[in-house]
Structures are given as structure tokens and as C-alpha cells.
Amino acid sequence: MVHLTGAILLAAGCGWLGFQAAEGLRRKSRSFRQLAQALALVERELELGAPPLPQLLERVAGRSAGPAKQLLEACRRGLDRLEEEDFSQLWRRQVAAMEILGAEGQAVLSPLGDVLGRYEGRAQQERTAAVRRGLEELAGRWEEERRRQGRVYQVLGLSAGAFLVILLL
């Protein structure tokens, strides 16, 4: 009975690891997608009337989700402490803290902090669009990766579980 319980737990654990690995890929592509959507909203706000950054970040954060929402909200809060840290540094620091983006994603998103609020509305819009396209490309790449590898991880997890169960029994 103990053996059976152990084997079931082991199989479930291995399966869970496989599903987690697949879920990580899905989360990554979804995060890039959410960030790209948020930047599309930023572009729209800049086009409509280029509001000051506090309003812009507040509005877009309110209509965003996931890491995009967290990033925009953290930057909005940071605007109340500009005497300690300027917006560019603040943005870079917050982006660097988003591990889910990886080095490649961070390299795409970080430079936007040097542009937002500093350039004229049209120039900000153009640069934001360029970053959004970069994120969409990464989202597409991770989506493809998920399709390719996600199923493999799940099957590997389950197979490893089954293999261990056979070995133990």
C-alpha cells in the first residue's frame, strides 16, 4: 500500500513538473502579449492628447493586466519620488526586476524609459510602437516555443513519472 501511494505521488510529481514547465512557456508568451497590448494603449493615449505621465500611466494601468499592470503601477508610484530617482532610472529598475522577460525582453523594453515623457508626443508614439513591435515579435516567438516544447514537457513529465513507477514497483 505504501509502495503504491509513493508511486502515485511520484508519478503525479513528475507529471506536475512537466505541466509546470509548459505553463512557464505559456506565461512568458502571455506576459509579452500583455505588455504589447499595454504599449498599444500608451500609443493611443499619446495620439489622443499626450497627457502627463502620471495620468497616462494610471489610465493604461487601469486597462492592463499581469506584469504590464504591475510595471505601470510601480512607475506611477515612483513619479512621486522624482527627487530621488528620475523616470528613466525608475523604468529601467522596474524592467530589470521583471525576470519573466529574460535578458532579451528587458533589452527591448528598457530604452523606452528614456523616451516616455521626454520627447514630443509624436516621437514618443513612434518609439513606443517600435518597442511594441519588438515585444509582439518576442510574444510570437515564445508562443511558437510553447507550441513546440509545451507538449514535449508535459509528455516528458508524465513519461518520467510512469518510468519511475515501473522501476519502483
Partner: protein
């Protein structure tokens, strides 16, 4: 007469400074903070404070160029794009109505200032509203309890804008006269100092403000959009302003305006104002006389 803010206004204004300069500005004694009119920053020189008795260095290290950039970043809340129009005019208004004047190397485009590329100096002017300054003239300007068409006249720096603001506030509140809807064309944001849509200086509950556009256009917008009973404008300087006021007068709106000048004779010597006087747009003219700290007013009937 109520002097609304003392050192709180100063403390609010210095929040626009980078941390080091903020601490330096706050090292000033409280009594001096309450009297300070401006803080001045010039690259390569220590920050100074302007008191009624004169300008004095605060004794800190010289201001660095990057600190002026930081000042702009803080004052605009990292939103230079949203204050570019103000920057082109050389100043921006921050919360509390305090005004930051900036100068440096201008970047030109089509013969006009596009922006300031490198900042060299800045001044932070502490906004303080003096309520009640219109009390001595209010009765005389409101025959039958309603404000009559009024022109405020004085040379620069004598308190025209202060009197205009207080008259607007009093009429809008119905303080000493019948309350009326006032529309204000505040081209440079000196009267109401809008910040995120809220007047930072009190102009009353029945006052609508348009700012950032030429006075004549602002006046016509207000006339069309806000159905004012009183139309107020600071500093009539162009024939278009007079034309807009004439249109408003034709619609039965009461006019309240200011102009640079010593007295009526001085106005009559200048073509723009002469035409305005001939058209009898204003019933009363208020002249401001200032001696040391005190002001006196002369009300003259024009028609």
C-alpha cells in the same frame, strides 16, 4: 485682509527642487521662509533666495546643470511633452500655482522657440494669494449690487493681477455683491494658475477658466461655450483683444480687464486703448498707486 499662505507655500514650492537643493532651501529660518518671494538657481553659482530686502545666497555648493534638468523633471512630473507650450514661453506652473521660470539655450524652428535645449538658470516664484484686496473698491464698482464694466490700470508690478483675481473671487462668491458667473481668459495662467484642471489660486465657485491660448480666442471660446455674466481678462495688449471685448459687450456681458498704464491720459495716448475708451467699453477705471508695502486705489468713472 487675509494673507493665505506663509511658510507652507514656500515648503510646497521647494518640493520641485532636487533633494540637495531642497534641503538647502529648507535650512532657511521659518520666518524668512514665510517672506521669501523667489528662489534663484544659476549654473555655477550657489542657489539664492529673494526676500523683500534683496537677494541672498543660501551658502550651498554651486548649482549644477544636471540639477536644473532634475528640477524640470520633477516640476513637469517627468512629462516635458505635456508642458512644451509653457516651456516655449519660458515658465511652467506647478501644484500650488508656483511658477518656475527657465532660461538657457533655445532651440529654434521656423523663427520661433521650439524648446530650451540646455538650461542655465531657473527661478521658483512662490505663489501667495492675498484675499480681500478688492474690499476698498468693491462697493464703488458694484452700483446696485452688480459689478459694472471695470478696467484696472497700473504699471507692471503694482498689483493689477492680484486685484483682478480678488475681484473675480469676490464676484464669483457673491462677497459684497450679487454672485455672478465669471469666465476668465487666463492666457499665461497667472490669474488662476490651473494645475490638472484645478485653479491653484482661488477664483471662486462660479468661475470658468480657459488658459494657454491667446486672449482673444479664449474670450470668444468662453462667450460661446460658458454663457458668462462677467468676462475677465488680464492685460489687454492687442487690437484683437479689444475686438473680442467689444463683441462680448455687445452680448450684454460685464467686462473686467487690466491694462498697463499710469492713468487715463496715458491710455488715451496709445491707439489700442484710445479706441477702447472711445467705444466706452468700461464704466469704471481703477488706478493702483503703490507706496512701499501699501496700495491705494483711485476709481474713476469713464462714462
Amino acid at each position: 485682509m487675509e494673507r493665505k499662505t506663509t511658510w507652507q507655500a514656500y515648503r510646497q514650492a521647494v518640493r520641485a527642487l532636487p533633494r540637495r537643493l531642497q534641503q538647502e532651501a529648507l535650512s532657511l529660518e521659518e520666518e524668512e521662509q514665510s517672506r521669501a518671494e523667489e528662489l534663484r538657481l544659476r549654473v555655477g553659482w550657489p542657489m539664492t533666495v529673494l526676500l523683500p530686502e534683496g537677494e541672498r545666497a543660501l551658502g550651498g555648493a554651486p548649482v549644477e546643470s544636471r540639477e536644473l534638468d532634475q528640477l524640470l523633471e520633477i516640476a513637469s512630473q517627468a512629462s516635458v511633452h505635456a508642458v512644451l507650450d509653457q516651456l516655449r514661453r519660458g515658465y511652467l506652473t506647478i501644484e500650488g500655482g508656483h511658477r518656475i521660470g527657465l532660461c538657457g539655450t533655445a532651440a529654434m524652428e521656423s523663427g520661433e522657440i521650439r524648446t530650451l535645449r540646455t538650461l542655465s538658470s531657473a527661478s521658483i516664484r512662490v505663489a501667495r494669494q492675498i484675499k480681500g484686496v478688492c474690499a476698498p473698491v468693491l462697493d464703488g464698482l458694484c452700483p446696485g449690487g452688480r459689478l459694472a464694466d471695470t478696467l484696472i490700470l497700473s504699471p507692471p508690478g503694482q498689483g493689477k493681477t492680484t486685484l483682478l483675481r480678488d475681484l473675480i473671487r469676490a464676484v464669483s462668491c457673491g462677497e459684497g455683491c450679487h454672485p455672478q458667473r465669471v469666465s476668465l481668459a487666463d492666457e499665461r495662467g497667472e490669474v488662476a494658475a490651473l494645475y490638472r484642471g484645478t485653479p491653484q489660486l482661488e477664483v471662486g465657485p462660479r468661475t470658468d477658466v480657459v488658459e494657454g491660448c491667446p486672449k482673444a480666442q479664449g474670450l470668444m471660446l468662453l462667450l460661446r461655450a460658458m454663457n458668462p455674466q462677467v468676462l475677465a481678462v488680464d492685460e489687454i495688449t492687442a487690437p484683437e483683444d479689444v475686438a473680442a471685448l467689444e463683441t462680448a459687450a455687445g452680448c450684454g456681458v460685464t467686462l473686467l480687464a487690466t491694462a498697463h498704464g499710469w492713468n487715463r491720459e496715458d491710455l488715451e495716448r496709445r491707439p489700442i486703448y484710445r479706441a477702447m475708451l472711445e467705444k466706452k467699453l468700461f464704466r469704471f477705471c481703477v488706478q493702483i498707486k503703490r507706496e512701499d508695502e501699501s496700495r491705494s486705489y483711485i476709481v474713476e468713472e469713464l462714462r
